[in-house]
Symmetry: C2
Subunit: 171 residues, 2 copies
């Protein structure tokens, strides 16, 4: 099953983390492949790393939207590594019950990951496996093959009042 | 700060669980007060109970929408207990950094919890404390005082194809 969390609002990765916790509680084996977030910047990473039955991989730690002087070539290389990691996570069958591809939508949107290559890998997944893909701007090709798509929609936010992202809440 | 996760779609509680994990990773103390979900039905509950710095309380284990013969009087009593628990969680100051009121919107919508009583308690919260309230049909009075409101919006779902809620994913 393919699940997509998208929308230009907070809650996409946060809901993915919640999904990981729920799945681990069912005794599932989970793999988290995360892009653009490093290994220690986000509050949840420390807790996730301590959990049994969860494998955590991080690629392309910095996104050029937040950091200067990040070469597109190195980003493409890192995103290709992440895709290879996804492929490696599919065998043997039942290695994982849930694979989370955090911010992969961004990698596709920004041209660091080829959507065709991603779709090709996703085409081969076992029907028992759940793959959750997050990031704003999910592309139509991905939405088309997804079983569940949720949009996190802005209603009201303190950012609009000039308040900055808050540690412990937004990151 | 008051945060509301609403909308008629999946991801509200899931994002709240993710928020708890993120906050715990920052060394925050967290209190989860959950309605209508029992203590063991949801996959995440087992993992949450094992985490340090998280207090988990459950009231009104069954919602009449899912179970028969639940008296409204007992539900009101349980929801009042949950509100008392919230009040007790506010003192001393800094007892918690994050309090999650899971499905409180439903309790208000269905008349088991008086919105005025809830707003009265929320009025007294310290500016450092974060309170996250989940459930569809968040009422306008609550949205008005909230700092962040996110709507989880349906785009596509396998329920629509007649597939039932899946263990490990939806619960």
């Amino acid at each position: 099953m393919i699940i997509v969390n998208t929308g230009n609002w907070k809650g996409k990765t946060t809901a993915a983390i919640g999904q990981i916790i729920r799945s681990l509680g069912r005794g599932w084996k989970v793999c988290l492949i995360q892009l653009f977030k490093g290994k220690e910047f986000y509050g949840e990473q420390k807790v996730l790393k301590s959990l049994k039955n969860l494998k955590f991989y991080s690629y392309a730690p910095k996104h050029p939207g937040c950091f200067r002087n990040i070469s597109r070539r190195s980003l493409k290389r890192e995103c290709t590594k992440a895709l290879k990691r996804l492929e490696a996570s599919l065998a043997p069958k039942n290695k994982y019950n849930l694979i989370v591809l955090d911010e992969f939508n961004i990698a596709v949107r920004d041209g660091f990951l080829d959507i065709k290559a991603l779709l090709e890998v996703l085409k081969g997944i076992d029907s028992d496996l759940n793959v959750l893909i997050t990031g704003r701007s999910a592309c139509s090709e991905l939405m088309k093959i997804a079983d569940i798509v949720t949009e996190m929609k802005e209603v009201k936010h303190h950012f609009n009042n000039g308040i900055l992202a808050k540690k412990g809440i937004e990151f």
